[in-house]
């Protein structure tokens, strides 16, 4: 028995495709403590969403999953479909990216919350409706009683995502998986929805896995960060450590490509050259080697393991700073993103 609410050990997910076997996830491990917020970042195709779908057994049939996934000390990988149905919604809930499509268009918001409640609890329709109204008020929807009878198309994007959060909270889950919950929303609405999510977490005492490619969202929200690249976790640690002392060139690259409000507009962002490798077949060496400015011989032949960053100051168990880079201890001392070429120079040369 562990105290972790979600524990993933050595997760591997392969997809059989016409082009060959795609290794979407390769040896991902992490633990989530109760009430903890963990952020998973990475660019498109790095395996963020597959990790979250795998952890509640929602992957397509073409996927083969190995490794152990424990939610509340129950093994997801060995569960029957019926046991999974009981687990989903009660112990673990999921929030999807696009609130336009994750609500059923032919039912009212109220119906959908009541449905979620009554799928797992033996309560009357009347009680469920009262509870649904309470949930809607909780996520900050005004005139909740009236709004229960609205259809999804009568809600704005932000309100829909709030309703989705209300549905996710309905059965007091212990873990919420949020797959890019704000990506489809306006920036102003994003902040409101994140605030709603925070309130929801405080009230329900749930832990959260927040998947996003927006580092800004993570910075203000997560306790710990996992950086994923090519189906692996390439760096993990507390938020401050990842942001101020990144120990993997890829993380440096991600941080360097965030526009900041005080940067001069003529300065171009530092970008990571190239694109992620295809995940078909097997590769040797570090998956980031081809794009890495610090690449050495060893990077092309040997894939680095996710190991402790020796120079790190934090050593508390479970949230150690780890990095999958042969030169982590040197990289961690470098100024953020300094190893990537400053593209503003190229830009000015071009214009001459």
């Amino acid at each position: 028995m562990s105290e972790n609410i979600l524990s993933i050990q050595d997760l591997n997910v392969d997809f059989q495709t016409e082009a060959g076997v795609v290794h979407a996830i390769r040896g991902v491990s992490f633990d989530l403590k109760p009430q903890e917020v963990i952020g998973i970042v990475g660019e498109s195709g790095s395996g963020k969403s597959v990790t979250s779908l795998a952890s509640i057994g929602l992957l397509a049939r073409s996927a083969t999953t190995t490794g152990t996934i424990l939610i509340d000390n129950q093994s997801v990988t060995t569960m029957s479909e019926k046991e999974l149905s009981n687990l989903r919604g009660t112990t673990v809930a999921m929030i999807f990216q696009d609130p336009m499509t994750s609500l059923n268009p032919v039912y009212t918001i109220g119906w959908q919350i009541v449905e979620a409640l009554r799928a797992h609890q033996k309560i009357s329709k009347k009680e469920a409706r009262v509870e649904a109204q309470r949930l809607l008020e909780l996520v900050g929807i005004p005139q909740a009683e009236k709004r229960l009878d609205n259809y999804p198309h009568e809600f704005s994007g932000g309100m829909r995502q709030r309703a989705v959060i209300a549905i996710a909270m309905a059965n007091q889950p212990k873990v919420i998986l949020a797959d890019e919950p704000t990506t489809a929303l306006d920036v102003t609405v994003q902040a409101q929805v994140l605030q709603t999510l925070r309130t929801a977490l405080e009230i329900s005492k749930a832990a959260l896995v927040l998947i996003t490619h927006d580092l800004g969202v993570i910075a203000g929200f997560a306790d710990r960060i996992l950086v994923m690249y090519a189906g692996r976790v390439v760096e993990s640690g507390l938020v401050d450590e990842i942001f101020y002392r990144p120990a993997m060139p890829y993380t440096h690259g991600l941080l360097g490509s965030i526009p900041s409000i005080d940067s001069v507009s003529s300065v171009r962002l530092r970008q990571i050259p190239g694109s992620p490798p295809t995940m078909v077949g097997t590769h040797t060496g570090c998956p980031f080697a081809a794009r890495c400015p610090l690449r050495k011989e060893i990077c092309l032949t040997e894939e680095p393991e996710l190991k402790l960053v020796a120079a790190s100051t934090n050593s508390s168990i479970g949230s150690e700073h780890r990095s999958a880079c042969h030169f982590a201890d040197e990289v961690v001392e470098m100024p953020v993103a300094s190893m990537f070429p400053d593209s503003s120079e190229d830009f000015s040369e071009e214009s001459k």
């Binding site: 479909e81 989903r88 994750s102 009212t108 009236k146 009878d149």
Partner: protein
């Protein structure tokens, strides 16, 4: 028909503008659909005609239960106040006979329609949702039924049943067994696209099992398609029954159907025009009005029309 349909969409779009008004009141899917339906002139016209025919036939059967087989002694009378549609060669009041035929046809059509909806929705939903081998098996079954020439089967089998006591019931089941395939195909197609939608995944992530997803989430999303095709099946069944009866293969006297009356009247069409014209017009009116109602329902129930503002 085609021109009617376009004219009707124009009318409907106009009315959509008012119905999408900025009032904060929430209207249910059905209320919205009803509103749109009642703004559709052709659909309303169809509904009125259809209702009048039904009311007329029920009233006639209640007031004059044996009118369709009573020999009045007035042979080959032209339409008059006494005999609204005239009389037949053997002296039966044609109005009574027509109304009896209407009820008979509608009874058959309803059975066919219900059978098609139940069978077609079930088969289509299972095939579309589960896919794979089940889908292949069920759809080949559908293909098999579709390629079998339905009329030939009906002609062979109706010889067997036409003598039996409740021939109309047999005929209805036979027609139903042959006409569910269209709904099955349409429902399957809808399921194929619906099952990939995020809300299905979201429902599953909330712990809904397959049965719950199929019956509570997906079938309600197809209700428009199903309703529309149920009405069209009614029209189709009436037509098919009339065809059979016209060929003398459906029902036989003493049962009455519109097709049978058309066939009997056709012999005298040039001299006693009413014997052909009235049953044929009633048949035409029923089928047209059912089509108009179906078209109206189709536009009214399309959930995409509800997203006036999103």
């Amino acid at each position: 028909m085609k021109t009617n349909v376009t004219a009707e969409t124009d009318v409907k779009e106009d009315t959509d503008l008012d119905s999408s008004g900025m009032s904060g009141e929430s209207r249910s899917q059905w209320a919205l659909a009803r509103r749109r339906f009642f703004h559709d002139r052709l659909a309303i016209f169809g509904l009125i005609i259809f209702s009048l025919i039904i009311i007329g036939s029920i009233a006639e059967i209640v007031l004059n239960p044996s009118g369709y087989q009573d020999l009045t002694g007035d042979y080959n009378q032209a339409p008059s106040w006494h005999h609204l549609f005239g009389t037949t060669t053997i002296g039966i009041d044609l109005f009574s006979a027509c109304m009896k035929g209407v009820l008979q046809d509608l009874q058959i059509a309803l059975i066919v329609s219900v059978m098609s909806v139940v069978l077609g929705t079930t088969v289509g939903a299972l095939a579309g949702y589960y896919g794979g081998k089940l889908d292949t098996f069920l759809m080949r079954l559908v293909d098999l039924i579709l390629v079998v020439p339905g009329l030939a089967i009906l002609i062979v089998l109706s010889n067997q049943i036409s003598g039996k006591g409740n021939a109309s019931l047999y005929l209805a089941f036979l027609l139903g067994a042959l006409s569910w395939t269209y709904i099955a195909r349409l429902v399957r197609a809808e399921f194929l696209s619906l099952r990939e939608r995020t809300f299905v995944e979201a429902a599953r992530a909330l712990g809904a099992d397959n049965r719950r997803i199929i019956f509570r989430h997906l079938i309600p999303n197809c209700i428009g398609t199903i309703t529309v095709n149920a009405t069209l099946t009614i029209a189709g069944a009436i037509l098919l029954e009339s065809t059979l009866s016209f060929l003398g293969l459906g029902l036989v006297p003493p049962e009455v159907s519109l097709g049978m009356l058309v066939q009997q009247g056709e012999e005298a069409a040039t001299t006693q025009w009413w014997q052909f014209a009235f049953p044929a017009s009633i048949l035409l009116l029923i089928i047209l009005s059912v089509f108009f109602i179906g078209d109206g329902l189709q536009s009214a129930l399309d959930p995409r029309k509800n997203r006036a503002r999103s």
